[in-house]
């Protein structure tokens, strides 16, 4: 790459950092209207829904069954154990076994 790569990198760094830092610093110590803070409190759960679905189905391109098995296993483990590490390692384990065999 050339010097342009480093300039691009600086640009990418800024446009990634600003949306991260602006609300946390700018809103510090500010009281938001109850409606707004109500909506903001909802965001974690909504964003998890959107991050999971439908992308979880397509973790292996052209192999939908893989994603479906992963989804079922992850949700089952999460319902039974309620522990993130168990869910992560358990799902990897089951899928490793699955792709090792098939």
């Amino acid at each position: 790459m050339g010097a342009w790569y480093w300039w691009t990198l600086i640009g990418m760094t800024l446009v990634t950092y600003i949306p991260r830092a602006f609300p946390l610093t700018f809103l510090e110590g500010k009281e938001l209207p109850p409606v707004v803070s109500g909506v903001l409190r909802n965001i974690p759960y909504a964003v998890l829904g959107a991050l999971i679905f439908p992308a979880i189905l397509y973790v292996q391109e052209g192999h939908l069954l893989f994603g479906i098995i992963g989804t079922v296993v992850a949700f089952s483990l999460a319902f039974i154990f309620e522990n993130v590490m168990v869910v992560v390692l358990g799902t990897i384990g089951v899928l490793a076994l699955y792709s090792f065999i098939f």
């Binding site: 990418m12 760094t13 991260r20 602006f22 909504a46 829904g49 991050l51």
Partner: protein
């Protein structure tokens, strides 16, 4: 106490570090095949630190796309973090702006999810630093290793590990859904809207997640504001 909160943060971030391992390793390898030196590839992980945007930039770089478009694209992909950090600000312990400015750099989809689903009413700054540090370290170190050795994990293991980040999201969401219809509604509505945008090809992933999240959060808030005004804080 400060140290132990930091330690708890590190511990809470381990699942992110595990999830980043295959993704960063693959990024390092792809960066190499796209013609980036180990310094250039690792520098991107050090300074940009955003998985989806980094992957996309590799595609654009190898196609010789105008750098300005690469930067613009990065912005569009990452603008959802604006929503996340605004939400997170409600939950974070009050602190000096420059300190918040430092850990703000470590906010990703994954670290946000871990922090925002903590049971505590307020999250300590040192806890956030712990979560951010272990995730960031994993991302940077495995980018470099991926560039050096390539993604030499056995194929079956690499395939299985591609589920890790999603399994983590599920592991964070499901316990909060238990006995809480509001959380169930929020997740289901956002997932449905996002699915609609995905299959209809109406929006790119970055915008789709942003709009689905916002729409679901506002819609559910309106419903609940009408129903009852006396809900405890934190959903």
């Amino acid at each position: 106490m400060k140290n132990s909160l930091f330690g708890q943060g590190l511990k809470a971030g381990v699942s992110i570090a595990i999830g980043y391992f295959p993704v960063a390793l693959t990024f390092g390898l792809l960066a190499k095949t796209s013609g980036l030196s180990i310094l250039e590839a690792t520098a991107m992980s050090i300074f940009v630190y955003a998985g989806a945007a980094q992957y996309m930039s590799l595609t654009l770089i190898s196609k010789g796309v105008d750098p300005i478009l690469i930067v613009l694209n990065t912005f569009v992909v990452n603008i959802r973090h604006f929503l996340m950090t605004a939400a997170l600000n409600e939950k974070m312990q009050s602190d000096k702006k420059w300190i918040k400015g430092i850990y703000a750099f470590g906010i990703t989809d994954e670290s946000f999810s871990v922090l925002a689903t903590q049971k505590e009413e307020k999250i300590a700054t040192s806890f956030a630093f712990g979560v951010a540090l272990i995730a960031y370290s994993s991302w940077v170190i495995f980018t470099a290793i991926g560039h050096v050795i390539g993604a030499n994990l056995p194929a079956f293991l690499q395939a299985a590990m591609s589920i890790a980040l999603y399994a983590m999201f599920v592991g964070l969401l499901v316990p909060s859904m238990r006995g809480n219809r509001k959380v169930v509604m929020l997740a289901l509505i956002a997932a449905t809207i996002n699915g609609f945008f995905y299959w209809s090809h109406l929006l790119s992933t970055g915008w789709s997640i942003l709009i689905a999240t916002l729409a679901s959060s506002i819609f559910v808030e309106i419903i609940y504001a009408r129903r009852d005004r006396g809900l405890p804080k934190g959903v």
